[in-house]
Symmetry: C2
Subunit: 398 residues, 2 copies
């Protein structure tokens, strides 16, 4: 490897550490954490001022994961304190005692506001939060709670009649194996003694992904398909592709290949990444676009051509991962391309945190720094994963 590449990556690592610690985590500690009721607000404006006092249950669990993971790496006691605040808020206010399901949104003082009965994301993000909290504190009760909640999620998703889907057209959704892969992988990292069971489960999920969603003839990953894996070609939802989501899947799969020493998983991840980068990278404007149509027909979703923050995060991790695994400089160049797109648009060096929403042409759409769907998760995860990957690249090549 060229020294210039190593030096450049080392500079990016230093930049990412500064942006992670000073720009990202500091912003959420200062403006997000609620010193009165506990938990975190995520609906923040450009300067950190509060746009909505409601709290996202997804982000209580996701921020818990983020602060635990950052604490493990950087040992700042304020991250542990934030994690403790989040875990108490979750346990005190985010479960519906009547049926054990979790809310989607609660008021700042923990009154229920919205409960979504079709989805399990509040529960799955809480599982990764509990598991990671166990990892840093070794408090057994959170290992037990994480595993019990996983069991409950399994019960809910496999018992007919509980999660009634919005559409009566029977379909498979790529989101389901994706979220479970993430949850299981976090459990395996945090909770020893379950490895074989978790490995088998992940193999089953990856088999599902390959059988139903990965389409070699079309060179893409479906978000939604018929039960037999065929494309719902007569329906807009059936053709709707989400390149950022598939790219996130690509690095999950590469990561599983590395963890398990399975070259076929690494090859699958690389194949998906190459397809979806070509599909999603939006020349001449730059950035990973929100949606594409599998047959390149017109798309109806209003935000279809916007540039959101998280697909850029996933693309940065995946290209750097691919470079680490293959030593192929084309992946390094793509990583640098998306890094440049991020640094020149998304990062707010003045106020901290990233903007989240740009028009197709790269002009800013809204100044919000967070809402019920944007908070401290994808960005700190990107920084931490990329820092680890750069360390590995430098270690291997020196």
């Amino acid at each position: 490897m060229k020294n210039t590449n190593l030096n450049m990556l080392n500079d990016i690592k230093k930049l990412y550490e500064v942006q992670l610690l000073n720009g990202e985590l500091e912003f959420w500690l200062k403006y997000g954490m609620d010193p009165i009721n506990g938990g975190i607000y995520t609906a923040l404006d450009e300067d950190g001022s509060l746009l909505d006092t409601d709290k996202s249950v997804w982000f209580q669990g996701r921020a818990l994961w983020t602060f635990c993971t950052a604490y493990e790496k950087y040992k700042d006691p304020r991250y542990l304190k934030a994690a403790e605040s989040l875990i108490h808020f979750i346990e005190d206010y985010c479960f519906d005692k009547a049926d054990g399901r979790m809310y989607f949104r609660v008021s700042e003082d923990g009154q229920p506001v919205i409960k979504r009965i079709r989805y399990l994301f509040s529960e799955t993000f809480t599982i990764i939060g509990f598991a990671t909290f166990y990892r840093i504190t070794k408090k057994d009760e959170y290992k037990d709670k994480a595993l019990k909640l996983l069991e409950f999620v399994e019960y809910l998703r496999t018992t007919p009649g509980i999660l009634v889907p919005k559409s009566m057209r029977k379909s498979r959704s790529f989101g389901e194996p994706m979220i479970l892969l993430n949850v299981l992988s976090e459990l395996r990292t945090s909770i020893p003694g379950k490895t074989n069971w978790l490995n088998d489960y992940m193999d089953k999920l990856l088999n599902e992904v390959q059988t139903y969603f990965v389409k070699d003839d079309l060179q893409l990953v479906l978000e939604l398909c018929n039960m037999d894996g065929t494309v719902q070609k007569d329906h807009m939802e059936g053709r709707l592709l989400n390149p950022g989501h598939a790219i996130e899947g690509a690095w999950f799969i590469m990561n599983e290949g590395v963890n398990r020493g399975k070259k076929d998983y690494i090859d699958l991840g690389l194949k998906i990444l190459n397809w979806e980068w070509d599909l999603g990278w939006d020349e001449p404007y730059g950035g990973i676009i929100q949606y594409r149509d599998a047959f390149n027909l017109s798309i109806s979703e209003y935000h279809q051509d916007m540039k959101f923050w998280w697909p850029q995060c996933e693309a940065a991790i995946a290209q750097l991962y691919a470079y680490y695994l293959t030593k192929d400089e084309s992946h390094l160049h793509k990583f640098l391309k998306v890094n440049d797109y991020i640094q020149t648009r998304f990062v707010d060096n003045k106020n901290g945190e990233w903007y989240g929403y740009f028009h197709r042409d790269g002009t800013l759409s809204t100044k919000v720094k967070g809402n019920m769907y944007k908070g401290p998760f994808h960005i700190p995860r990107m920084y931490m994963k990329c820092i680890d990957l750069i360390d590995k690249i430098i270690d291997t090549r020196n």
Copy 2:
């Protein structure tokens, strides 16, 4: 009135008739109507090709209203045939026999796909369709069916526990009186013998609008408020304003003032129009913007700064109505401004029908001509209302 204004309005009337008959209704007759199963497809691409075979139940009712109203005015027998196809498709496939509620989406051959239990819009659009079909055919059964469905809607919305709202935070929504005003006004036009009851009901709704949603201190109309009419200022949804929707309300209210000879309604409609035009017209780009925040804070909805087709339609009707009522040329100039914005961007003179979705700066976002939310309703209604208004303006001033 100046002759130049009259001549110009007469030219616009001629243009609108050509665009209505050749560009709009012809497009939907040719590409939308399903000659095999009956009913209408609305998910059409730029050239009329089909993007999704599912059918929107909203648009079976709305297109029924459109073709009946156009038949009444232009007596083209193909419009009556389309209306008959729509009414049969609605009656055969759009109701859930189990509980009498209507679906939201069905397959092309009428299999249920989505049923939304929180909302009544499928039912309300069917009421206006049935009532208008009765008006042009004088078939008594559709008068009875319209009134029976209204009774059912009243039962659903006033019986606690049936329409469980998404949020547990008790709120009033401007959409509820708005849709009912539209339904009742169509019923009054179509079905004689109910006038007093309908007038009283509309007065009650307009009182509700003034009491809870029209805010003189802020000079705006709320979309959502607390039960006592106060602003939910700590919540993004509570501050979210929809100028196109309020402008639609403004001309409904002016229209009610004219029908009933009530100057206070006319004044209320004009006041709302002036506030909301100033709020919604987006200089320097032009067009009515999708959303604003009541306190001018950052907005989180992804499409918040886009230019959709229907707010432009509502603004054109409202400004022309205001000009007719006040003779104030500033309203004429605003009508011409929005007409120019429409003609230079939305109207597709080559393929027919309008594009629907533009970025803030007026560049096209997607080429779709329709989907589950865009079909033959706002645009033909705009053309027909504006043609009537121009006739009235010319009659009055000659």
